[in-house]
């Protein structure tokens, strides 16, 4: 089975928008003399492009192996940075979240999360889901890990939204560069990755 065509298309477009926005921030922040978190923006850029390719064929970019290596390196980098910043709890937690997010993407590439292999959509049809030989799409390997990832992503989204809705932004030297928009982009990426995993548990 697969979702209606509009759903992966919308999610992929959202991810590409997030990637584009993060890329623009990376370029514009120094020019506008605004503070930004280059690590977060870089991760959003990569996750947006990679995630879109996992959901829609037309957004495919690098080979899976290349993305796997990139996000494995990113996970290691953020983990090391989290250890170094362990005294600054908010910073450490943020870096750990980046490390975990990178690991989720590594799992998605290794487990076989990919656009549907079915021609046309099964949405709105009778599919006889449990019957063998009927509309069976490729399924990810290690689905239990995928489901754990989905649950973790859902609860992390709730915690980000809770923090976001009442949080003042620290910093006095220079004005921060739309920090809440970055958090909103993170929420979009998290939900899109969770959708990507669930769409392959069929």
């Amino acid at each position: 089975m697969n979702a209606p065509a509009f759903l992966p298309a919308i999610i992929s477009v959202l991810l590409i928008f997030v990637a584009g926005y993060a890329g623009w921030r990376l370029l514009a922040a120094p020019t506008l003399d605004l503070r930004t978190d280059f690590e977060t923006d870089t991760l959003l850029l990569a996750a947006g492009v990679a995630g879109a390719g996992l959901i829609s064929n037309w957004a495919h970019t690098l080979p899976r192996a290349a993305w796997s290596v990139i996000f494995t390196v990113a996970a290691g980098y953020f983990a090391v940075r989290a250890v170094i910043a362990r005294a600054q709890v908010p910073r450490r937690n943020r870096l750990l979240a980046h490390a975990c997010g990178s690991l989720v993407l590594v799992y998605m590439f290794l487990a076989g999360v990919a656009p549907s292999t079915l021609h046309g959509s099964t949405a709105g049809e009778y599919t006889m889901a449990p019957m063998p030989g009927m509309y069976v799409d490729t399924t990810i390997t290690y689905p239990a890990i995928g489901l754990v990832c989905v649950a973790a992503l859902a609860f992390y989204t709730a915690s980000v939204l809770s923090r976001l809705s009442g949080a003042p932004v620290e910093g006095t030297e220079r004005r921060a560069f739309a920090p809440r928009s970055v958090e909103a982009c993170r929420v979009v990426v998290i939900l899109a990755l969770a959708y990507g995993i669930l769409s392959k548990i069929v």
Binding site: F38, A154, S199
Partner: protein, 331 residues
Amino acid sequence: MTKDIAIDTASVRAGRGPRADSATRSEPARSPQAERLLVALAGLWLLDGLLQLQPFMFTKDFAIKTIAPAAQNNPGWVAHPVAWAAGLIENHAIAANTLFALIQLALGAGIACRPTRRAALACSMVWAGSVWLLGEGLGGLFTGAANPLTGAPGSALLYMLAALLLWPGSATTAFPGAGRLGAFRSRIVWSALWLGLAFLTLLPVNRAASAFAVAMTGGMMTTGEPHWYTTLQVHLSKLTLGHETGIAITMALVLALIGACVWAPRPTPVRAGLVAAAVVAAVYWVCGQAFGMPFMGMATDPNSGPLLALLAACFWPAPTSPDAPLEGAAA
């Protein structure tokens, strides 16, 4: 060099800053425990919304295989609305499911965000009530075969109770779930729930021969699961064979004690009872509910196990002296 603009969570917890002030105007101060539980409830709604986006949900089979069976063995006044809803969803599968997913994602986001929390909690009660009737057939309570092991009285009812208990109210209560209802009425809700579960456990159908084994491995329970998990379920189900009545009576006693524990005058027995409730919820979830059966891509929610654990956390005594008497409890 990396420039950090991390959101200052410490200031939020302390309620400082202009945004925090504006947020607290619409939302009374809550204990950290209550805040965490609300975030957990929001996470569950977000998870439900994500599950609703699975490909199966957009097919007509969602109505036939997931909604329509809720009408079976129910009285007409329950079965007819369920059948009507199933027909409606079958005829408009894509639009209906898109709407369902968006509603649940919005509920999760709304509960997580402080300014919209009250409205989202109220809407979640209305939505969960509708799902309980139209999607779960009132949890099968009127079929004579409702089994807490497999999810009775229905996760939607538990969502309603969670929203009711965690409704924003006083910050200084004996436990996080007493914010609006108050300690006494919240305890009534808890006791009614667990005594109800005890009653359902003792129904003849739930202590008949092979009742536990059928509940744990029957039907499509193990379809799509990893092999190791199916092996575990089958092994555990075999252990129950021939001991159904004894297990049912023991479970009913444990459930009744859990229902009564919140009335204890000291925190220690309350905590013991709540830990037991969490253990029972975990056993139900792992052994009888298969984590909500997500391995087939047909799960609409994680079933009642996580919600029972969440409700137990709502009654965890607020930090005071180790064994001080609890407000509103039996003297």
